[in-house]
Amino acid sequence: MANKINMVQAVNQALMNEMELDKSVIVFGEDTGLEGGVFRATVDLQQKFGVERSFDTPLAESAIVGTGVGMAINGLKPVVEMQFMGFSYPAFNQIISHVSRMRNRSRGRFNLPMVIRAPYGGGIRALEHHSESTEALYAHIPGLKVVIPSTPYDAKGLLIAAIRDPDPVIFLEPKRIYRAFKQEIPEEDYVLPIGKAKIVQEGEDITIITWGAMVRDVQKAVEMVKEKDIHPEIIDLRTISPMDRDTFVESVKKTGRALIVQEAPKSFSVGSEIISVLNEKAFLHLEAPPTRLAGFDTIFPLPRGEQHYMPSPKRIAKTIEEIVNY
């Protein structure tokens, strides 16, 4: 039977698969057990594998991550959920002080093969704190990996890779596209490489680097500029840290122009880092300044103002043109 599913179902499939394969994979968080998670990402896991392997915790994010640390030290593979990225902040201390450091601190005696999953990003007309895009905070910390898929296929392959990774991975799921589209993906398990970007579309005129929910908006914008004979190359970063610099550097050496599209706030962001890398590695190939098109350096607006915040396909298209005509 066809396996045409959306992203949140793909996440669920990945978890199903890995829990079946590896008895040390344990899934927990707030409302993740019985109910299967507020987005149903962990649905049916408890029913299938029992309450010992998929369970609900008290409301304490720091404890969810901290307990996960202890479990990982004692031989398990915790896949914990932060209900929303905006609620991961109480766990920030455990993540920065311990999750990212345990291997280095103990010179490899202890390592943490754990995954911290969280729905992230805006566009769902929600309350405050439910639209965060602060991946840069985690990417800045040495010892962590940060992964953001943009399609169901990538979500399943990358989550499986993250669970199997001996290092801790922050897995951010762009909730705006949790159910926005379906894709035919293999039913069996498969792994996509963490640390490798994907060239979604080749082109000669400009390199657009993006990730998460913005990939689709970039694709829409690229359709718009095709009429003006502009052919961008689209790169889906997929892993924020460690970033696949080679892929986008080679691309910019070819096109001479770069645009980073992100929904996160502009300053001190992942886009800022990409531009620094381009500056170091592709300086002599640049025909226009590499540019970030991003959310404003403001708090994400409440729903009535949300439509202004994330770069729209129109805005992306306009910026592409500007850069190509520089």
């Binding site: 045409k4 296929y153 589209f181 000669e204 001479g256 002599l284």
Partner: protein, 433 residues
């Protein structure tokens, strides 16, 4: 066109539901949003609202049946009343089922849609149909801006910087060349076909030394830029020969080797001062002649390695003896390959004395970017007519090549006349100088 209402995934990843109760009948006119049926899933029992207004045409299941998600369970005819919608319902309708998950997310609306995207192309090479071939160059942003400002196409420039980087000076040079091409004579050098010897010919390949390459390049530039014209003259230097004979012996005791060249140079200086255009260069960028009020003489010297033109500077300020010394010094060192680069540059006029080897007249090539050159042939004894009598005179044949863009034939003749006058009366030359 009838609308087929497919049983939706009302959330929580259901696959099917049980139709508990129909809330409409065939023939009913219903409004969009109106509940059409009560359905039970393993999570909830809920009413299903219609996404379209219209007439209920067909109800495909009966109460108690199990319906799978995506199965058509109700058909509605939307084309009633005044709706002038034609043909197929736009495909977008089916895609934009914004189903609000009742409990999912607990906050906000995650849009659910059955829109499909193509399967992943992971691992496959994704090529775009259009393949433009663009020349790429390495250059800093500053250099690129300079190219833009000077209207130079940076992709046509060969960079002289590291790894072939196009430097600012490359851009400036290219700009100059294109300006002189535009504003000056538009000459395109015909591409000469490459000579290839035939097989089995008795040949020997000799590679070019770097100095030969340089000379060859200079000759091309000079000949190709300047329209060369040569005027020739025979100058009676009998008096000069006698003068030299008189002092040669004495001076050689002081280790001073006296030739004719210092005298000729003295005469040249006078002549150049009288006709300054012969001591000039052409500024093609600004389309101006630059007359030089200093006099550095290039002395063409035949060396083992090839032609070199060392320069004696400020010849107008030097005595005959001084000139003799400097000429000897600089030409000797040139032959010994002992001159530095500075000494090979900066001449304002040049002299070439092929006569010392042999030959009477020639068409010497101007030493670019000078504007004229004087060639000296072999001094010969010849019978001439003087004061109605035939006498034997010492004749110096000279060949003056000049740039015909700026000097006309008459100018060349006048120059030679003045030079000849001075050389024919050397005592006057010395008194004046």
């Amino acid at each position: 066109m009838k609308y087929e209402f497919r049983f939706p995934d009302i959330g929580e990843g259901i696959a099917e539901g049980t139709l508990l109760k129909w809330l409409v009948n065939i023939g009913d006119i219903i409004k969009e949003g109106q509940s059409v049926a009560e359905v039970e899933t393993d999570k909830v029992t809920t009413e299903i609202p219609s996404p379209k207004s219209g007439k209920v045409v067909e109800m495909k299941y009966k109460e108690g049946d199990i319906i799978e998600v995506e199965q058509v369970f109700l058909i509605i005819d939307p084309n009633i009343d005044n709706d002038s919608k034609t043909q197929d319902p736009p495909q977008d309708d089916e895609k934009l089922e914004a189903v609000e998950e009742e409990t999912a997310g607990v906050v906000g609306e995650v849009i659910a849609s059955s829109e499909e995207i193509p399967p992943s192309t992971e691992g496959q090479k994704v090529t775009s149909p259009k393949e433009k071939s663009k020349t790429k160059v390495l250059a800093t942003p500053v250099a690129r801006k300079l190219a833009k400002d000077l209207s130079v196409d940076i992709t046509t420039i060969n960079g002289t910087g590291p790894n072939g980087r196009v430097m600012k000076k490359d851009i400036k040079a290219a700009a100059q060349q294109s300006v002189s091409k535009q504003k000056g004579n538009v000459i395109t050098k015909p591409a000469a076909p490459v000579y290839k010897p035939e097989e089995d010919q008795d040949i020997e390949r000799v590679s070019l030394s770097s100095i030969r390459k340089t000379i060859s390049k200079q000759m091309e530039i000079s000949k190709f830029t300047i329209p060369h014209v040569t005027a020739m003259e025979e100058i009676d230097i009998t008096e000069l020969v006698n003068l030299r004979k008189k002092y040669k012996e004495k001076l050689s005791q002081e280790d001073i080797y006296l030739t004719y060249l210092p005298f000729i140079i003295k005469a040249l200086v006078f002549t150049l001062k009288k006709f300054p255009i012969f001591n000039a260069s052409f500024d093609s960028e600004n389309q101006e002649l630059i007359l030089k009020h200093f006099y550095h003489m290039g002395i063409a010297t035949d060396t083992e390695r090839g032609l070199m033109v060392p320069v004696v500077r400020d010849v107008d300020k030097k005595s005959i003896v001084s000139l003799a010394k400097d000429i000897l010094d600089v030409t000797t060192r040139a032959k010994e390959n002992n001159v530095n680069l500075q000494e090979l540059k900066g001449s304002t006029f040049s002299v070439t004395n092929y006569g010392s080897v042999g030959g009477l007249f020639a068409t010497p090539v101007i030493n670019y970017p000078e504007i004229a050159i004087l060639g000296l042939g072999r001094i010969v004894e010849k019978p001439i007519v003087k004061d109605d009598r035939i006498v034997i005179a010492k004749i110096l044949p000279v060949s003056l090549t000049f740039d015909h863009r700026f000097i006309d034939g008459a100018g060349g003749s006048r120059f030679l006349n003045t030079l000849a006058d001075l050389l024919e009366d050397p005592e006057m030359l010395l008194i004046k100088g």
